[in-house]
């Protein structure tokens, strides 16, 4: 086992840059996943089958196929359609779209968990449809599912290394680049692996606390 502390020191500036990119992709991806997921969940409760069916089909398809292939698809096919985006934007869209199909299920379960009386009360007060959603149903639904949504943020964190395949220099990308330049492979990959554990373990502890407080 050869471990060179100098290589560790050399890699650190690249590592911090990679960490920043990882967190940026995660934050934007999570924002997109939370928003799109809500859209899917609400559309899946539409009264019109014409709306429900395509949304269900698309979300099932996206959820049951690999994120890696979806990233390649977006990266190579969007430019063919005349939409040229940066690698990071493509990665964020890929992550956000993939995980929106998971958050949609979480929202759906949360919405199903709101008692029918709440819908009836909203009808009795003749609240308009949007106000029923935003003032009555969603605040109750989202509170219950917040920890489950958090779980998917941690899951997404662990999928962010995949976006290095389309050329984003996040943590793994930086590690690959460093080892290509210096032929030190052991140190950067190990550091990145440890970094993931150091981020995701406290995050999962935090979520457990959150779950105890919000879900009763």
């Amino acid at each position: 086992m050869t471990w060179d502390w100098n290589a560790v020191g050399d890699f650190m500036p690249m590592f911090w840059h990679g960490l920043l990119v990882t967190l940026e992709a995660l934050a934007l991806g999570a924002l997109l996943a939370f928003t799109l997921g809500l859209v899917w969940a609400v559309l899946q409760r539409s009264e019109h089958a014409v709306v429900r069916w395509p949304v269900t089909a698309v979300t099932e398809f996206v959820r049951n196929t690999p994120l890696l292939v979806q990233l390649f698809f977006l990266f190579y096919v969007l430019p063919e359609w005349g939409l040229t985006l940066s690698a990071l934007s493509t990665g964020v869209i890929g992550l956000g779209l993939h995980y929106s199909t998971y958050t949609a299920e979480v929202y759906r379960a949360g919405i199903d968990g709101v008692p029918a009386g709440q819908w009836e009360a909203a009808t009795a007060l003749s609240l308009p449809r949007p106000r029923t959603w935003f003032a009555v149903i969603l605040p109750q639904a989202i509170r219950r599912v917040a920890p489950a949504l958090g779980n998917y943020v941690v899951a997404m964190l662990k999928d962010t290394p995949m976006i290095f395949v389309i050329g984003v220099l996040e943590m793994l990308g930086e590690a690959r680049q460093y080892s290509a330049q210096t032929f030190h492979t052991v140190e950067p990959i190990t550091i990145v692996g440890i970094a993931f554990i150091l981020i995701s373990y406290p995050a999962s502890l935090l979520l457990r606390v959150l779950e105890r407080r919000l879900v009763r």
């Binding site: 086992m1 050869t2 471990w3 269900t56 099932e60 398809f61 049951n64 196929t65 690999p66 890696l68 292939v69 979806q70 390649f72 698809f73 190579y76 096919v77 063919e80 998971y102 299920e105 979480v106 759906r108 379960a109 949360g110 199903d112 968990g113 219950r144 599912v145 489950a148 958090g150 779980n151 998917y152 941690v154 899951a155 997404m156 964190l157 662990k158 999928d159 962010t160 290394p161 995949m162 395949v165 793994l172 590690a175 080892s179 492979t185 052991v186 990959i189 190990t190 990145v192 692996g193 993931f196 554990i197 995701s200 373990y201 995050a203 999962s204 979520l207 457990r208 779950e211 879900v215």
Partner: protein, 250 residues
């Protein structure tokens, strides 16, 4: 789609076979890891619980792709252990998805009513007999639906091996893309291939579930299609829904 010639189709079909093999072998390793670690986490000795808990937190905490890089590049350089790419991939997938599976096993075993175990003690069953004849037969039906989710996640995760040069479906696709210079057709085709594989796996696991539920005298829940796979269609599983998927952070 006509640009993809027969030879290129064959590349993709060879890839399907590799993906199927990878999924089957990794799932077997993951199942073994899941049962060993999951049961160890319910052990009465705290040392065993601590060690298996540490395994769980470490392998669940890191990303499967990073683990794969570690096994492919750090093991040979750092320790001199060079594995055949296929088996390195199986090891990486099996170890990380086994960690997720251990949570499923632990949860299902602990959900068996305590009176069942006490009855086993009263009948002076040995711990091994309790496990084999009382606990596992009742816990198994509860494990099947979350295992189904994990199996799909494993199938999706198997695409990562293409980065390492193992010739699975995604790798075949990159070759075909290079040969034809067109991306949309080939990536659409392989997304559909993955979807079909996932559908077949879900159907298969549905049969396993029906058999498992019937063997303890319970009727399976009504479900339609692939849908309702994620949360088992039950609100009370909500809080733990994350735990049943690959990235769950519980």
């Amino acid at each position: 789609m006509s640009e993809i010639s027969w030879g290129l189709w064959k590349l993709l079909l060879d890839g399907v076979w590799i993906t199927v093999q990878l999924t089957v072998f990794s799932a077997a390793l993951a199942a073994a890891v899941a049962f060993v670690i999951g049961l160890a986490r319910t052990h009465r000795l705290w040392v065993v619980r601590f060690l298996s808990g540490a395994y769980f937190e470490i392998f669940r905490g890191t990303s499967a792709l990073i683990l794969m890089f570690w096994i492919f590049f750090v093991l040979p350089i750092g320790f001199g252990w060079q594995l055949v790419p296929m088996w390195a991939a199986v090891l990486a997938l099996g170890l990380s998805y086994g960690a997720y599976g251990s949570e499923v096993v632990r949860g299902a075993v602990q959900a068996v009513a305590p009176a069942q175990r006490e009855a086993g003690i009263a009948l002076s069953f040995t711990p091994a007999q309790q496990l084999r004849k009382i606990i596992l037969p009742q816990a198994w039906p509860e494990m099947v639906p979350p295992f189904n989710n994990l199996l799909i996640e494993l199938l999706k995760g198997s695409a990562l091996v293409s980065i390492m040069g193992v010739g699975d479906i995604a790798f075949g696709a990159s070759l075909v893309r290079n040969a034809t210079g067109q991306s949309a057709p080939v990536y659409t085709v392989i997304l559909v291939m993955y979807f079909v594989l996932a559908f077949v796996l879900t159907r298969g696991m549905r049969l396993v579930e029906r058999h498992a539920k019937a063997s303890v005298g319970r009727a399976p829940q009504k479900r339609e299609g692939l849908r309702t796979r994620m949360n088992g269609g039950r609100g009370d599983e909500l809080a733990s829904s994350g735990a049943t998927t690959a990235g769950g952070a519980r």
